[in-house]
């Protein structure tokens, strides 16, 4: 049985934040969950995917976040408790659905999880999704710890049903990817079937209906504000002040620890905001009245700070309130305990000496270790092939979101522009229209399904001129090998799925030049790519080759490893053009690590001396 289905209330488990969140939803009787995978949220849905195979939960990997939210919105309006999980930028994709779903509301609980990523550990921006709560008028909850996150998911479902609105649940990476000891609660049996009683004059959002629904939303917001005033997730630590600190999320942990470390608990009142939209204005007013000066600690934008200043203005309070400023907290990146401790000491003028970190000035430069495409990754082969085919041409390479974005790094250097999922195709239209360069763009299979199809239709209709390379490695590799509509689900021993052909879609769109290549067949592939890039108009190349990590997971047979024989004359084309992580240099000679090499043959094909050859026997692992 799946660990998160353990029916032993009171049992303690060490759980990852994302496991705790999934468990919280299971305890709350979630019956339908949807997602599009995205770090740092991915393990929530990976657990749902496995749980769904042994419980009544319905879970799906939807094609994108907008569709995921629409599926969940309908389920929640058919009286079934639902959850929709995505990373922060996913909510941009789902925003169209979100804004008017807030007008329509829900019948059963709907929790929309947005996983924000301060510092951009694995994201293209660090937008602060608390503003989506403000923009949509929906309530927002933010946990500070893994254990609290589990409890708060249950509260979110109850709140959603009380207000008949979806609830936004915002985490940050340090919640999703922290581990903590969590106490299991009772699991409520999910109700998997509901009903949808017709009520078009409250559901079909034509202007006359929406004018009423907007009024209803404002009433719900006011009701949410009342609940926030006394929510157990907005609480004050310490009683008197005169110093006030307001903090949310993980910043609260750092503030709590700092107050203890600085030994100032007798002088500080700490307000933790866990129900952050609407902000509890009466609670904040009362809090401010007991303070001489206030520090607001929040990663990202000054969302609380601006709100608190507005509340102070309404009550005629003129105490200093600070948060974001040059000498205190930044809008950039994530916070840490030492930074928060130092800023608290500085703002309240407390003498404090921090530990002295070791002197780093005489430590030699250490070669960087950036992430790299895996040994045997077919993207490396495709990039090599396209580079060779386009040799001598001035090119622009718009790219997209996935492992293949790592093609940015030298020596491949095959990425020039990226803003969001699907942007490789849309931006190709603009670049090809306004430059004389050959535009060749790259998109992965899952990203193509997510948001690459409408811009390809756009390109055919508006008669643009570029080549799109679809890197089809048969899985959503970057986020942990989740399925997508092109995946053969039989391989995952899952039944009851359809399968959508990328080739079929491309042909149906009316792309008149299509090449399908196996990128490890270099010569043939270069020829095919040349034809495609010489074509005037929209051409598409589908590069088909399974992700080697995924293949390993499926226990597919891999090739025998290769080694560098005596014929090597040290040209080093292999290393300099491919930079496969299986290579290393020993005594000025190129070597291949047999434990890393999967026998893809790419380097063997480009070696001018044909010096790279396969082992005849299976080699012993080190």
């Amino acid at each position: 049985m799946h660990k998160l289905l353990t029916q032993e209330p009171g049992k303690k488990l060490l759980l990852l934040g994302n496991e705790a969140i999934a468990r919280g939803a299971i305890e709350a009787g979630v019956a339908l969950a949807t997602t599009y995978p995205g770090t740092p949220s991915s393990e929530i849905s990976a657990n749902f995917f496995n749980i769904a195979q042994q419980s009544p939960l319905y879970f799906e990997y939807s094609i994108n976040e907008k569709v995921a939210l629409e599926v969940a919105a309908a389920a929640a309006n058919a009286c079934v408790r639902s959850m929709c999980v995505m990373k922060h930028v996913g909510l941009n994709v789902a925003a169209d659905a979100l804004m008017t779903l807030a007008y329509v509301g829900v019948k059963a609980g709907l929790v929309i999880l947005t996983a924000d990523d301060p510092f951009m550990f694995s994201s293209q921006n660090e937008q602060d999704n608390r503003y989506y709560a403000k923009l949509s008028g929906l309530p927002m909850l933010e946990p500070s710890s893994v254990a609290e996150a589990k409890e708060m998911v249950g509260y979110a479902f109850e709140l959603s049903e009380k207000l008949a609105e979806p609830v936004l649940f915002r985490t940050t990476t340090r919640i999703n990817h922290s581990n903590e000891i969590v106490t299991l609660g009772n699991i409520i049996a999910p109700v998997t079937k509901g009903d949808f009683p017709k009520d078009p004059f409250n559901y079909v959002t034509v202007p006359a209906v929406s004018r009423n629904l907007h009024k209803k939303l404002l009433k719900n917001m006011a009701a949410a504000g009342e609940i926030a005033e006394s929510s157990p997730y907005n609480f004050i630590e310490g009683n008197s002040g005169p110093w006030g600190i307001v903090a949310n999320g993980v910043s609260y942990n750092y503030a709590h620890d700092a107050v203890k470390d600085l030994n100032i608990a007798d002088r500080v009142a700490l307000l933790r905001i866990g129900f952050s939209h609407p902000m509890p204005s009466r609670l904040i007013t009362e809090f401010l009245k007991g303070c001489e000066k206030v520090l607001v600690i929040e990663e990202g934008e000054p969302y609380m700070e601006e709100n608190i200043k507005a509340i102070a203005q309404e009550s005629g309070l003129t105490i200093p309130i600070k948060g974001k400023s040059e000498d205190l907290f930044s809008r950039l990146f994530e916070f840490d305990p030492g930074m928060v401790r130092k800023n608290i000491a500085r703002y309240f003028d407390i003498s404090y000496s921090s530990v002295t970190p070791v002197d780093l000035t005489d430590i030699p430069d250490i070669a960087q270790r950036p992430p790299n495409l895996c040994a045997g990754c077919s993207h490396r082969a495709t990039y090599y092939v396209v580079k060779k085919a386009a040799e001598g041409k001035a090119t622009i390479y718009p790219t997209d979101i996935g492992c293949y974005t790592l093609g940015l790094l030298p020596p491949l250097s095959m990425a020039d522009f990226l803003i969001c999922m699907g942007s490789s195709v849309g931006t190709s239209c603009g670049f090809s229209k306004t430059t004389d360069k050959k535009v060749i763009s790259f998109i992965g299979d899952s990203t193509f399904f997510h948001s690459g199809i409408p811009p390809l239709i756009n390109a055919v209709f508006n008669n643009h001129n570029f080549t799109l390379v679809i890197l089809d490695n048969g899985t959503t590799a970057m986020t942990g090998h989740q399925p997508n509509p092109g995946v053969d689900m039989d391989q995952l021993k899952c039944s009851g799925y359809g399968r959508v052909s990328i080739e079929g879609i491309v042909r149906a769109i009316g792309v008149s030049h299509l090449e399908i290549i196996r990128p490890f067949r270099i010569k043939k592939s270069i020829e095919a790519v040349r034809k495609a890039i010489d074509f005037e108009g929209v051409s598409v190349i589908i590069a088909q080759e399974i992700c080697p990590l995924y293949a390993k997971g499926l226990k597919k047979a891999m090739g025998k490893p290769f080694y560098v024989s005596d014929k090597c004359k040290n040209h080093r084309d292999c290393i300099n053009e491919l930079a496969c992580p299986a290579f290393f240099i020993e005594n000025e000679k190129v070597k291949i690590d047999p434990d890393t090499c999967v026998g893809c043959t790419l380097c063997a094909q480009i070696c001018p001396e044909h010096a790279i050859v396969p082992f005849k026997e299976k080699v012993n692992i080190r």
Partner: protein, 197 residues
Amino acid sequence: MNVTRLIIVAVGGQGNLLASRVLGEAALLADIPVRMSEIHGMAQRGGVVESAIVFGNAMSTIISDGEADILLGLEPSETLRAMNKCNPDTVVITNLSPLPPFTVAIGKGQYPDLELVKSIIRRKTKKLIAIDAVELAKEAGNVLAVNMVLLGALIQTGILPVTIDNVKEAIKTRIKATLVDINLKAFDLGFQSAQRD
């Protein structure tokens, strides 16, 4: 209860996260509060994996620069790279078996000399325990048990508030049954090696 802060750094695939989880389970068995955080988005793509483990009564799950009580490095150049987490009282434990990044192979950087790595760390911190964990892991029966060798050395220092038995019990719960013996042996070899160091 005193707070003890441990940083573990490794290259993706070396088993950093498993080692961290084993320590977390050991703390659970010892009834010690524990909070851990990890950054592993690109772990399988050869990047650096860092985890922070905070034992005792603190709510933070990450560790600021200069604030680690112990730094455990599964790869020597990564141990050196993580020196920003250390202060003069930090105890450092490192594997001595290098895994040079591919940037070295393409001439985009130097791999630091191991003797220099050791002397820098010794000079700047309270104590360095340096062992060839690959050699001991092979002796235990599987090169992949490097993480358990180093856990053994870590526990030998006695700085963490968990016992040998807690950790061995945790190894049994977190590691596949068929590999438990090899991992326990690796743990013991690391423990003994640190005693001699």
